[in-house]
Symmetry: C2
Subunit: 333 residues, 2 copies
């Protein structure tokens, strides 16, 4: 409620001095600082963000667009982002795209209206060229997802090689008939992980049964349904790789609903290592992404962009690891 001039009056100085106490204290007399600070404390004065922003043409809020806030994978990344944002005096504006590209696109206006100084995209529903155009005008970083051929700062893991790693693990357990439940093919993530799967299969000379590769959409339900489909074939797989944990849960439950057990009858491996993966039974073997670190790194990158620091590197591939739990077992057939 109190404005800068109220403070100025009570402290018997001009508004300029009050402003200086807050931003360039070294140019103000010791004693004056003390007096002003006291009044500020007294009145519980907080500078009006809009006025400051208008004058300085810079805000301290950044926008984060998430494909689905309900997925704990993203909320972990979000935590990382918020952590370093707060540490640096930024606030995060949340945009949940609800898996809808149109809605996602709507958030771009927040940037244009200067309501946010920069943006972190955890999604990839926007066309590459639009992203590129926006990134040319505003600080933007991509996290988790990335766009092919687009030179926007990015932090993610290597989805191809980690999917390869997971597949290799299955192969080394002796599995030959390996099913794959992919993410949506219109997402790079979905495509990359599938690519890794194919690469590993080729490398080890294991034949890919086309019927055993089904497209899901990263949801539990799709994992469940696709697994049912796989189980309907005469030759059921002995192992299944689901492109994310939620689908893996669906697969496991579908398998058990059919009276089979995981991992004795069929091994299942997931991707992401979300919070529930270790709680689920059987505890899910999966690829672990450093979610929190992806978040912190992305935010650090964005800060670099916003403060126009010289960036030596703008593409970050973080380490992932295979975490072994109880959902995979040696092939017995």
């Amino acid at each position: 409620m109190p404005g800068i001039k109220e403070v100025a009056k009570q402290a018997n100085v001009s508004i300029a001095t009050v402003s200086r106490v807050l931003s360039k204290p070294e140019s103000v007399a010791e004693e004056t600082i003390k007096r002003v600070l006291e009044v500020i404390e007294d009145l519980n004065y907080q500078p009006n963000a809009a006025a400051r922003q208008l004058r300085m043409s810079e805000t301290t809020t950044i926008l984060v667009v998430v494909p689905d806030i309900t997925n704990t994978f993203f909320s972990d990344v979000l935590r990382g982002i918020e952590f370093v944002a707060l540490e640096n005096g930024y606030q995060v504006l949340l945009g949940d795209a609800g898996n809808n590209p149109e809605q996602e696109k709507g958030y771009l206006n927040i940037l244009r209206q200067k309501k946010a100084a920069g943006m972190i995209l955890l999604t990839a529903g926007i066309e590459a060229n639009l992203v590129e155009e926006i990134a040319a005008q505003y600080p933007v970083v991509l996290a988790c997802e990335y766009l092919e051929g687009v030179n926007v700062p990015t932090v993610s893991i290597d989805n191809v090689s980690s999917a390869r790693k997971a597949t290799e693990y299955l192969i080394n357990l002796g599995h030959k008939r390996i099913g794959y439940i992919s993410g949506p093919m219109n997402s790079v993530l979905g495509r990359d992980r599938l690519k890794g799967f194919y690469q590993a299969m080729a490398q080890y000379n294991v034949k890919v049964e086309p019927d055993l590769v089904q497209e899901g959409d990263f949801s539990y339900k799709s994992g469940f349904n696709m697994m049912l489909k796989l189980l309907a074939y005469s030759h059921t797989p002995t192992a299944v790789f689901a492109a994310n944990d939620e689908m893996a849960f669906g697969a496991v439950n579908a398998i058990e609903e059919k009276g089979l057990t995981v991992p004795q009858d069929i091994s299942v491996i997931g991707f992401d290592n979300i919070k529930f993966s270790s709680i689920f039974k059987p505890a899910l073997t999966t690829i672990s992404q450093p979610t929190f670190d992806i978040g912190t790194k992305a935010m650090e990158l964005l800060i670099g962009l916003m403060t126009k620091q010289e960036m030596k590197k703008t593409q970050f591939i973080l380490e992932n690891k295979l975490v072994l739990r109880d959902s995979c077992y040696k092939c017995s057939r």
Copy 2:
């Protein structure tokens, strides 16, 4: 990038006219509107939010403070909030308190700086009188949590009666030795649910074994550990009520680790009905909160407050229901 005066120049009108086209088109000639709109389209002009906000002294962002973004219970509420926020032209600023009251308090400055027009608190880490003080100055609504004796608009469920309902269910299944894993006692939520438990036990004349009531902190780990503690007593309970689902998962897993099974040996009931409850095995019997509705209702309430509408009612108790799944069974001992 383009400002209002750029538009004005290109459309051959004054900035006043441009402004009017955007806010009071009925006071501008048909033809002028068309011309201005064309230029706006052309230049991709977006009014500067800071300037507008400064002038109008109102912003369209609201603040939501969450105790823990990682808990899917809250992300569901958040979805509800965002849904109606977006529909009404508001953006949501996310504040993750990380279960830390200090951090939570820090978010209040966002209100004072006028960066947000209102606030929804999903937490209750701030002292009642501070909340009351803030609520007197700014639009604030409490969701999920509430504060005793504080007359701040609130939307939640009746935690006492729903805990009673869950307990009754256990009692009706024939259980006499019922354990309870509570939430932290410094939260109203934790206390209310415990109260409901006591009420039901008293009503049915079932003795409460003090040893079988343990305090957790709503985390999986605490559920696990407290259950281990319950299992260490000579007389183990035949049923356990955990004050939220995550702790219930912990309890189930602890029970199974000891070689017992749920629900045959021990029944477990949870609270919240988070996404994972139906995926978990055994599927968790639990109290379902209308998370999405809590969110939408809270946001509607807040909008009412911000637009200074006459409110006939500011306390909303939403319906909960007991959802029966596979983690409870008749008492066999």
